[in-house]
Symmetry: D2
Subunit: 396 residues, 4 copies
């Protein structure tokens, strides 16, 4: 039941033992004063990780999908128009959610492997003279394709058009591992989850609302109770929750943000870039290509790797799990069978990354791909030799 | 940070270490075959605990409030009429939720301390010839007042009236500690939470749908995504989840149901009754009264104890926490300041219960109540001497 | 397998979760620099707990019996005379050990229930003009009888006689729970164990040597390797161990001393006295007597309680374990069947103590003793009401 | 404080979480019946791992050095002659212990990197017509040099000479990872430790005595109390211990033997051989040599790797720890600075081994050794591709 090898799925991530222990608390009376000593630092820590001074942070016992629902149902009303791009499985799913909640979603289709088409958004927003679009949805890091999008460019598009639409950003697989600037980018609602950059078990949807988004909650008429941020806000003001909080996970989140901030956000981001650079060097050494179309789109938390025409990439994942007890991610949706994914977010060292690269190599060779054993490892080693640092240990 | 004394709040409960460990798992690839080996036994175990052969169980990463929302949003449409009684804080909150979701709720007001007025429900249902009422809401165990309601009587009322309304039951603080008969009582949706009778951390809404309720999900038009049981059903069929599952909590739930079923449900229920009988004997020895109006309403999971006129019952809770590091529950809503609550559900032994009784005694004497030290303890000891058993240890 | 009730054996004690976690470490390279960061604070912390500025602390992966062997084999040579009193099972066993190691032990027999007869020691030491006695053995707290001895009086006897014998003190069940003054009392070797006042699992013999004792190690010719403090001293000077250390337990010991010193030693001792006073009040209320002959002999860590003539006290222990899942200590040696013991050292709150008293009451009544239910609890409550404090939580 | 990378020291080893949890138990009354349910299966399990039907197993709360002392002090008397070979640091230390305990040790010096010279032992034993040699000491696996010795050949030498000397074998770093046949080889005392093949924390000396060795305990006059197997035997007969047992570690040992036997001893040994073969393939690919002189001497639990003349091998260990947070073992004694060691015993997968090889490569290249990055990894991958299996997961 208890694995020894690291996992290389793009979340939930490997968890440092210190965070697992923080999350595994004995029962504490959540109506006692002790609870505020967990809740408030967790909220404040998240705000710092988001580089925000102004946002209101709300944390729900749910997964990030609940965070999406929080973003929509608290700011929008039935029939409202929203703008979104489909360029991967997670942007696809958020679009699907808008439909289920009776929103009028305007979808820009984009190639999977490309980022969000900010210029196309700019055109649409400029053309929307009637300001019917109430919100723009951005998937900051498409976990399905290993592609990051340019949130600042979307903000630019909004500003250029003088458009008042809210900017709702899914940062689930980027926040706390890649740079995210809530205030600078003018993000109105940010959505994250505990099981990615925060290195915790799944179970918390972490959201942050700008002042403008908070204003919107008063007008929004989509039905909501569980995900209603107004109840949360009322509770937080009294160090309380509108229902039973997941105290252990909140305690873990408090410590997670403390560790991240002690290490330094820029150091954390650089660490993820360095590990990702090693993975990407390995991919190049293998003679393979990333799903992400261009270097400026490369995600530092997950790499989707294209396998040759006619090869079922999913077999790599199945085989590596079965024979080497190593978990990679399969391709989803449009790229199912065409890519496999190496997750490299959260708690990972260079040395752990090398074991994942080595396992992928063996699996690919086993399955007949013309990959040279050790080639990807050597390429990554060259990257890591230049830069390796003891990582989290220093901070812990 | 780590308490040594048991807690006596009515949930989250004391957690057996074996369950905490089951819930605190290293990361497992939830898309691997291992996940099904956790999910399916957890679902099957819950079904047995609910005494159901037919129900579909759905488990959400959320708290039980999310379970209420699941029950409503999957079976009802905007404007649907529902029937409910308000006789405590939790029935009150569920009623509030129906309003937020645009339902037409018919509220029967009842005294706090009384159970649901089944005879009044019978009248209303009989009178509803147009069958406008689509669902009847029942709070099986009012955690605020320590009162249980007669679900079978509501079923009887529905059947007598030949009324097709769905029977939605909140069993959050009863299920797995008190008898609950989903099939026999014709419950259409049952709602439970991980942090009560299942003795786990908060974080799972556990719901079960009858076939009739499942049929209703196809017609229901309340917006839903996160809590949509249709996505869950599709996922479960493939040992998968529509989003990232809380694998650790599911693993804990699997073990929890195994422990409960190994001990035997009737034995578990008898254990809770016995511990509750001891608490009630103590209350009588103190010369105090329960909030619950009559013995047939007594909850076996929580006792709300009335304090004398003019005395602020909340002080007992504050004082016991501060001076003795023991957590009791305060009175809520209409009975705020009038009662304090001793939770006795989940993982508790007679010996632990005695320490709670002893702490309550000291706190009450400290605050000037005319209680004899040791009196409640002696009364409970008399009960426990007759019946004490090693409890969970035997099962573990 | 996992108990819920506190244990009331006189060690191993209940363990705070925070200490269990500190002791349960992943593998750390004990030859790396990190090890010194655990070892040195642990050594320094123990020194402070012993109230010593001068002692050399040595910690062996063994139990306290190994600490006794450490004390003897490092300071004495075959045939050396030692002076000891037998007044309980643990003083008896230490005497037995001296014989096995070829020492010439002079035993003063004393009543079980009395302390060490310091005046008799004074006479013998004064009479020993030839200074043949090389060491005096003192059992500071006889765990078998709940009796503490006056170490200062033995020091006084040595000084009055101008006798150079070493003063070896077994403080296994006193140190870290009761006052122990290594320097002030002129203790030459002190012996403690991890599983008592330090609230850790069994597995560490904790010893401290005065300068005089260290000098003796050079002359002592009793064979020793595993327990040789000279190897330890050499290792410690390089942050190393002569063999594989129990790193986790040392890490636990480091934290244990930090918690004890943060709470304040006098506060810790007062806490144990207060809890013991409650237990003793209960014993009086039951109409029973302690094995300890007089109040100045009362141990604050364990109470041995005499049961009426003709009653087998061991039955209480057996019955309480079987029926109530509560562990007490049986009588040992001369007092087997005549006493049962309540351990109240280590990590215990007043509220936990009350549950032990309540369980003992039920067991005694079950077995036909004329004890009034609740009587001991009420007596202890009266003590605890006056003094209860949040205990370790404040320090943690 | 909490490392993420596996350790590659030759013990303590990486520990499966399931064993850490088994060892981290809440306090259990070791005088209750529950203790026997831990102790007896642990003893029986060890016996099976040793492939013995007849041995008496004794487990001491100490490290394996205490096991050496147990072997000597229970079977020998002051002045007894013993035969031993010095061919590494651990055989050296055991020889040193014999001297400290007043034994007359006859030392055969052998090259470090060679095994025990069984033919030389044969000559000496044949020549010892007076049977003055009372015991022959064998270090089955020299952890310092990565060399295994031929225990069966020593038994053969004894039998050929018709010599009655006891055969005492240090199997600390072999037992439970490499084949060990107590009965077939006629081993009289076997010594192991919890922190190697049993994958537990350090803290248990695990010994086994043949009937002949048990007979010797009655005659042996070396002083002993803590390590006296007669007290242990007496205790075990009553499910008890002569002093406080390390209950958690014993519980861990029980589970460890269950896991090992469920996997199958031959499967366990093959797994260690396979992982070792990969390491050795890497060493060859690097153009380096093992300290072990010949393939039949190769240890399957630790590889000592010679670095080129003029290079300080210890730097690899220091550098890898500092830069890559990976722990290897330094050379000890005669081979200090000449070798570094990769431990590959206990709980290790092929994928983890590859990360160690990759880290060693980077460290060596960083330090200027002419090693090709990826070369060792590729060689090991070739081995592991042929044979990889899911390892412990299957058993757990």
């Amino acid at each position: 039941m208890f694995a020894q090898n690291p996992v290389f799925i793009p979340g939930p991530t490997n968890m440092p033992e210190v965070l697992r222990r923080a999350a595994d608390m004995p029962t504490l009376d959540h109506r006692s004063a002790l609870f505020g000593q967990i809740l408030q630092p967790a909220l404040a820590g998240v705000k710092k990780v988001l580089k925000s001074n102004a946002a209101d942070v709300f944390i729900f016992p749910s997964t990030a999908t609940g965070g999406w629902e929080t973003a929509l149902s608290n700011t929008l009303s039935p029939g409202d128009a929203v703008l979104a791009a489909r360029h991967g499985m997670f942007s696809h799913r958020w679009i699907d959610m808008t439909r289920r909640h009776g929103l009028d979603v305007r979808v820009v289709e984009a190639t999977w492997g490309e980022g969000l088409p900010a210029d196309r958004f700019a055109e649409i927003l400029s053309a929307d003279k009637a300001r019917t679009i109430k919100a723009v949805l951005v998937t900051h890091n498409e976990t399905a394709t290993g592609v990051k999008s340019d949130v600042a460019a979307v903000r630019q598009a909004l500003d250029t058009a003088g458009h008042p639409a809210l900017l709702l950003v899914d940062g689930v697989s980027s926040i706390a591992s890649m740079d995210f600037r809530m205030d600078e980018w003018g993000v109105d609602v940010a959505v994250a989850g505990s099981q990615k950059g925060f290195m915790l078990p799944a179970g918390l949807a972490i959201t942050a609302f700008s002042g403008k988004a908070m204003d919107a909650t008063a007008q929004a008429t989509l039905p909501r109770t569980y995900f209603d941020v107004r109840d949360m806000a009322k509770g937080y003001a009294n160090d309380a929750y509108p229902y039973t909080p997941a105290v252990g996970l909140l305690n873990g989140l408090k410590l997670s943000t403390e560790l991240l901030l002690a290490e330094g956000l820029e150091t954390v981001f650089a660490r993820h870039r360095r590990i990702a650079d090693g993975i990407r060097a390995a991919v190049a050494a293998w003679g393979l290509e990333l799903c992400a179309a261009r270097p400026d789109l490369y995600s530092d938390t997950v790499s989707a790797i294209r396998t040759p025409e006619g090869f079922n990439a999913t077999e790599i994942v199945t085989h590596a799990a079965r024979k080497y007890d190593v978990a990679f991610g399969v391709g989803l949706g449009e790229v199912a069978g065409k890519v496999f994914r190496i997750g490299h977010l959260g708690s990972l060292t260079e040395v752990m990354a090398l074991s994942g690269i080595a396992a992928a190599e063996m699996a690919m060779v086993d399955l007949g791909l013309r990959i040279e054993l050790g080639s990807g490892v050597a390429a990554a080693q060259a990257v890591y030799r230049g830069a390796a640092a003891p990582g989290l240990r220093a901070a812990a």
